[in-house]
């Protein structure tokens, strides 16, 4: 493999504590190294910003519900298609781009790793076929567990060992990465026309509460010592006053400590926190509770969060929180799609327009920015848009602009139709903080990599790590004349390397790289009871046989990268 030397750039790397010093980054055989020979190809990064490739911790970019969005929203591709250009295949879609466009757009912004946040296990084959067709970026997928019949039955009796054995089996057959929980119990209740809006609402038939599901899954996750923690979308998403359910959920993690060999410190990852930080009792007195939620997270070091920033775009909401999507279509009257996944989960899809002229949307925008600005430790708060739910991931440069420039925030606040309401219902107008490039690298690289248990692999520029490097046309020595320059610089990289292969040059794709599928291979002791339960459920309930269930072999996972976990003791 070629050698490269990225010379004279301003390097920001939280892993090594480098804060913008002029440094050379050497690449050899796909890894960051101390030095390379004189024959190495030199990339001039003078007056540019150099960071590790960014890590996406939560996005919906592959699988059946994403594809359902693509199928039932042809209008999303209207005027958003790009023709074949050089290496690039044609692509299309604004909020639900095609697989190829997804890979290209992430790479052009300097992202080299991304996690698909909700994989229905029954459709893991479909998820992996889409991951395979998304070029460049390394991807993993989180199977959903919070409404799974096995989990509900085991945890009802607090059978942690059996739950853990089931999780290990599931990660292996679906080539999954982590334990995802969406509206625990509520999505199963939705099959009965009901929902769980608090952590103590019983799940019909199973007679278990969301609180028991969440605690049990944390215990099982730590019993196995998985790279990532339990990753949760709590109950009661998106409703005025939901922050209390959020705090109740976070309190469930009290007393638990992370046990793993991957350097992860949290036991609970709270996703799209913006959607879970609402106060008020109606949309009329709707207000921000970002302070209450971040105060709690700031104090409790065993929790990490991501933001879920509203980007004020027309987008497509999609979640395994089936009852929520039904609620949403009742609010905006736009087309609704719903899918039940037997024994396991469900999903809904509804288009949504976050209009700057609607006060609720403007307040949501403000809450999304308050959260990272109120978080004291940037290593525990990561930037996401819960793509495509709060906005498309292609808007990250715009979110970065708002976080790095108070002036940019003021410009947006002044453009809102209900500016006064935004200022009275949130604290966005009082926040002076502007994120530094170092903090940005923590929130988009080192932080999410650590939370995912990938801190030895990516998210940093230390020798021995994967050579994922992004070079931005942004000179940190020069004051920012116009906040738009920030958005521009972070939209299109000067150069991007993925595992030591240059994939982007001057904003254009020049290679499809060697994309990998990240998954977690857990070895556990034989568990005859769980094996028997699985076989029985396939015979009695599943509409397919167990033999057809596994995402197996080269077709589904052509280039695997397995993180090995030994949980036999």
């Amino acid at each position: 493999m070629s050698e490269y030397l990225i010379k004279n750039g301003h390097v920001f790397d939280p892993v090594q504590g480098i804060k913008g010093d002029k440094k050379d980054i050497a690449i050899k055989d796909g890894k960051i190294v101390d030095k390379v020979g004189s024959g190495a190809k030199v990339i001039d990064a003078k007056d540019k910003t150099v960071m590790a490739g960014a890590v996406e911790i939560h996005a919906h970019i592959a699988g059946p519900k994403v594809n359902l969005g693509r199928i039932y929203r042809p209008e999303d591709k209207l005027f958003s298609c790009t023709p074949t250009k050089g290496m690039e295949r044609m692509g299309g879609g604004a909020s639900i781009p095609t697989t190829f466009k997804t890979g290209y757009e992430y790479a052009k912004m300097g992202y080299t790793t991304a996690m698909e946040a909700a994989m229905p296990p029954l459709f893991s084959r479909h998820v992996h076929e889409e991951i395979r067709d998304t070029p460049i970026i390394d991807e993993g997928a989180f199977p959903v567990f919070g409404n799974n019949w096995f989990v509900l039955e085991y945890l009802k009796n607090h059978e942690i060992e059996n739950t853990a054995a089931y999780i290990a089996w599931m990660l292996r057959v679906t080539k999954g990465y982590a334990v995802k929980v969406v509206n625990p119990g509520g999505t199963e209740a939705w099959g009965w026309g009901l929902n769980c809006l608090s952590i103590n609402d019983p799940v019909p038939y199973f007679d278990i509460t969301p609180a028991e599901i969440v605690k049990g899954l944390i215990e099982a996750n730590e019993y196995l010592g998985l790279p990532h923690s339990m990753h949760i979308h709590p109950n009661n998403l998106g409703n005025p006053g939901c922050y209390e359910t959020t705090l109740d959920t976070l309190r469930l993690a009290e007393g638990f400590k992370a046990k793993n060999k991957f350097g992860r410190e949290q036991v609970l990852h709270l996703t799209h926190t913006q959607f879970h930080s609402y106060g008020g009792t109606t949309w009329g007195d709707f207000e921000s509770k970002a302070k209450e939620v971040t105060d709690y997270v700031n104090k409790n070091k065993n929790i990490t969060i991501d933001t879920g920033n509203v980007t004020l775009d027309e987008t497509t909401t999609m979640t395994a929180d089936g009852p929520f999507e039904h609620h949403l279509t009742g609010l905006n009257h736009l087309k609704w799609a719903n899918v039940d996944v037997e024994l396991e989960t469900a999903a809904g899809v509804v288009p949504y327009i976050y209009s700057p002229n609607i006060s609720v949307c403007a307040i949501q925008w403000a809450i999304g920015l308050e959260i990272p600005l109120m978080m004291k430790d940037p290593m525990r708060c990561y930037i996401t848009t819960d793509h495509p739910n709060a906005g498309p991931f292609t808007r990250y440069p715009r979110v970065i602009k708002w976080l790095m420039s108070r002036k940019a925030r003021e410009t947006q606040i002044n453009a809102f139709k209900h500016k006064d309401k935004v200022l009275s219902q949130t604290a966005i107008g009082t926040l002076d903080r502007e994120l530094s490039l170092y903090e940005l690298a923590q929130m988009t690289r080192a932080g999410p990599a650590k939370s995912l248990g990938l801190s030895a692999v990516c998210g940093g520029l230390a020798p021995g790590m994967d050579a994922d490097v992004a070079v931005y046309n942004f000179n940190p020595d020069k004051p920012v004349a116009d906040p738009e320059d920030i958005e521009k610089a972070f939209s299109r990289c000067a150069a991007v390397f993925k595992s030591g292969v240059q994939v982007v040059s001057n904003g254009d794709i020049i290679s499809n790289g060697h994309k990998r599928t990240l998954w977690v291979n857990v070895k556990t002791k034989e568990n005859p009871q769980v094996a028997r339960d699985i076989a029985e459920k396939f015979v009695k309930y599943y509409s397919m046989t167990q033999n057809n269930y596994e995402a197996l072999g080269h077709h589904f996972v052509p280039n695997p990268f397995a993180l090995e976990v030994d949980a036999t003791n």
Binding site: P74, E75, L78, L334, K335
Partner: protein, 266 residues
Amino acid sequence: METVTITMKNAPALYLEADTISPDAFAGKNAAQIAELPAFEGNVPTTLGKYFEISGTAGATAADTKIVVKGDVKKVKYLGFKMSAGELVIEGSTDLYVGAWMTGGKILAKGDVAAFAGLAMKGGELTIEGNAGNYLGAAYRGDWRGMSGGKILVRGNAGSDIGMYMTGGEIVVNGNVDVHAMTHAEGGKLLVKGNAKSKLGGQMVKGEVIIFGSIDTMMPGFKPVGEVALEVEGTRAMFSHFIGDMGERHPKRKGETVYANLYKKI
């Protein structure tokens, strides 16, 4: 106002997607520059000059520009696409998407137009002297935002699904319309001087439909509420008044539920 005349000389083998034939794209350009404007023949990028003989110079702005299209343009799509001002006269018949997404100005099509004419139109005037195809003034596939403003006049007949998801503006059809007119409409007005077929106004939330002729089969979701005298374009007559679609959700204004109104001449 300056006039540019474009005449079809070399007919395309495949369909020509000429979304640059609009006063907005022509404005400020001379004949040679207009000839260089891009288009697609099938999936192959091409230019207007390969097909059209172009004479005249456009005005400085779209409002100062009139385009006259001559010759056989039955295989040309997107004439007047997204136009905001000025005039476009099409001497013959043409293909899909005439005046689609237009926001202003005037289009006169002297022949027939195929489907999707005036699609998601926001303003301006579109006059069709021949017949119009399906989805006239409708929403794009999958979209819920149909025609929202402006006026469409069809002197002949119109096809099916016209005014689908319409939210504003007016469509007048002097002849007959096919099935599914005004499906899902949430505003706007449709006047049909001939006959309408079945599924008229299905799932309609708001808006108005006036039919001078017959209705094949009335939607069961429309409820008769009496007879009214109306004067419509100079014709004074009695009409049966229906409200609906009762199977659809309806908003409230000042405590009163708002329905779509359907009037059929007696």
